[in-house]
């Protein structure tokens, strides 16, 4: 099975654990099968490979998520990077071109598109496999999954099938309705549109060329910014006459808000947290190294990271987005492909951060125009290059880099460094990159 997983979203709704860099699908808060913790991405990957160990998985995503995907899944998946954001139709087309031109997938092979973050049972992925098989043998152009609704939700689009058979033609698509309309749809036998599609690769590329001007993957990548923002449903599904919907009846949840996320959490508390005996239906996720004590909390969710601390009634937490948008907070913690950084202290004319560099990784060779930097090695072994001169690094070693000094560091073992940045108006923009003066 060829699978394209669409991984989007800045995930403000799960603030402060999700931020512009870390979307909800990467947060490790679900129970894996061995009593450990896994992310939505990790869970979905595990479930797919349980159903189809041979599945070829490609994640279509933006630049910011590449490091996190690599950190969580390594090279086990392909990553098709959108140079900028352009809704789902261009994203699927780019991924389709990537599959053909970079992964060697044949045009008569079947591709299944699926969101990266459904919280489902394994049977969901069995259904995907079935859809792929149906697309291979059937005579329709497009197959999609219709999820049997469990309540009249305002959050999903609806599909009205022609019949109540397991596989049916589609009568119409409906946008997200209000609750009364949703009730009416459901009475008519409507299904939720789960954003899952199966098609022959050649079919999709043909449709792509009809609507977008490009030659191949590289060309589409280069001209991606010119493409119109349009959803897959609107550009294709709603116009396709030869379309079939497969009913899926099984657990399917969108863990998009704290309220729903808590239900799937590995336990009532993650991280340093204690509750007194009068707390009820309360969940705590604490990524800080500061203990949390809850007393008399009812129906609450508490989530703490270096980005912020949320203390919310569970119902109320669905309305978080506008409040988070008002909070100005520099990113205090970020996972990168090379490791991570944590801001420890912010002063008017200095910034102190902790850098963890993974073995085998290195920073870019770079300099800063407006700030001096000092490294103190806390742990691990590494090598620095300072103005072209290489030196080894061990715990206790100190490197002073005045403004203009070119520097980089690579880790032999996991390297932990305290970096003190000194200057006014310290900015991530103040960075000039260079090629290393020698190659290793």
């Amino acid at each position: 099975m060829n699978l394209i997983l669409l991984s989007g979203g800045s995930g403000k709704r799960l603030w402060p654990l999700s931020n512009d860099i870390r979307s909800k699908q990467f947060i490790r808060m679900l129970s894996d099968e061995n009593g450990g913790l896994e992310s939505m991405l990790g869970r979905v990957y595990r479930q797919i490979t349980q159903v189809d160990p041979e599945a070829r998985i490609t994640i279509a995503t933006g630049k910011k998520q590449v490091s996190l995907i690599k950190n969580q899944l390594g090279d086990k998946v392909g990553v098709c990077v959108e140079p900028c954001r352009r809704d789902t139709f261009p994203a699927v087309c780019l991924a389709a071109a990537y599959l053909r031109d970079r992964q060697g997938v044949k045009e008569d092979e079947i591709v299944v598109v699926c969101p990266v973050d459904p919280y489902v049972e394994t049977s969901y992925f069995e259904a995907l496999k079935e859809m792929a098989e149906m697309a291979r043998t059937g005579d329709a152009n497009l197959y999609l999954m219709g999820i049997e609704p469990t309540y009249p939700s305002e959050k999903y689009g609806y599909i009205i099938p022609v019949s109540q058979e397991p596989v049916s033609s589609v009568d119409t698509f409906r946008e997200k309705p209000d609750i009364a309309t949703a009730r009416r749809y459901i009475a008519q036998g409507a299904l939720w549109n789960g954003g899952v599609f199966a098609f022959r690769l050649g079919y999709l590329l043909e449709k792509a060329h009809e609507q977008m001007d490009f030659t191949d993957y590289r060309d589409l990548y280069d001209r991606y910014g010119e493409q119109k923002k349009i959803s897959f449903d609107y550009a294709l599904a709603e116009r396709e006459k030869e379309i079939r919907v497969l009913r899926y009846k099984g657990q399917w949840r969108d863990l998009g808000t704290w309220n729903t996320f808590c239900e799937a959490m590995a336990g009532r508390t993650l991280g340093r947290a204690a509750m007194d005996g009068t707390c009820e239906n309360t969940h705590v996720v604490n990524e800080l190294n500061i203990p949390i004590l809850c007393m008399g909390c009812k129906d609450m969710v508490i989530a703490a990271s270096n980005d912020g601390i949320l203390i919310s009634d569970k119902e109320q937490s669905s309305y978080i987005k506008p409040f988070v948008e008002q909070i100005e907070q520099q990113v205090m913690y970020a996972e990168k492909s090379w490791g991570s950084f944590t801001v420890l202290d912010v002063q008017e004319d200095s910034l102190t951060i902790k850098i963890v560099l993974l073995p085998g990784h290195a920073l870019h060779y770079h300099s800063h125009e407006h700030r001096d930097e000092v490294w103190t090695v806390m742990g691990g072994q590494g090598k620095a290059v300072i103005d072209g001169v290489e030196r080894s690094l061990s715990p206790g070693d100190v490197v002073s880099m005045p403004a203009g000094c070119r520097h980089t560091v690579s880790a032999c073992s996991e390297l932990k460094i305290i970096e003190v940045q000194l200057g006014r108006n310290i900015s991530v923009e103040d960075k000039q990159k260079y090629k290393l003066p020698f190659s290793e």
Copy 2:
């Protein structure tokens, strides 16, 4: 007026803002008269000097509080330090001996003893002045303040006066009762025992010598550990026949729990905090540089510091003590006479702290046996002495101190330093102090 302010308590009830080092009386969360913030100690000091600009104030306290008192009040008050904790009678006797032997107070002068942390109107200190005057001219040995109760509290001791006159003899003292008993006492005209006493210095010292074996202040200080733990009420007030109680009718509150403390707070939020429109009767104190967002919180108190984060129903917060005792957390922030330190990062074999050294202050000249240290100067100017060699310090300067290296630093202007400590089992005990090899 000679005033002894008793400053005790480790203040676990206002965790995480109070800890073993910072008791509740030092937390700056009350409105001062200029729209700024002041502590209970600052407020009481201000009120006393408004009523009596000539008041001679001595604070009786333990070692741990001396730095904080000096930071908040400088040399405007005397500090009588108890070498160890011994309840209120020995503490008052030590302070009395200190007044006579160190401050030159005559034995026929009047001394008033008062807790350091009542939340009161200025009229309370007018009443103290009146008590002192009454003690000077009256014929009783001991005068105490009886506060007219506003509700049947289980938290206070009660005084049953003989009459309902403004000044009365005392019938009996009663320990903290249950609510039903408290109601009965109040029906009998009982008053709360506010822990305020006035007496002639000579009288108190005579009583002290009757119960304790000592010659003078120095001797009592040296033998303080041998003294019996006994309260002032039990040792003296309940045994004294020539005693009078003064009625006080005015605002008098004990801000000993979050529930009561919130009522006196300068605003609904202190520090970085936002609330949505559905929060009700909720207070937030945030000492962290991490934003807090509250949604749908009702009747809650939220308090965050580097020591911990409390999220509690206001009523429930009174029962905090046993929970806090279970939380193991090293002190992450401490104010010292010389400035402050903040723990920024804890690793198995390193510890990173921020040191702020106030102008004119210096650390002890010291070394560590089992750890190396590296300083990076973030801001300010200072001088270091490293193994006997003096050098000046400016932002960006780095000092590496291997184990055994003797070092100190003094601040010319406010000096901010990042200190990375490197070694296993890093402990505050690993410190050897030395005299500086030269005097300045």
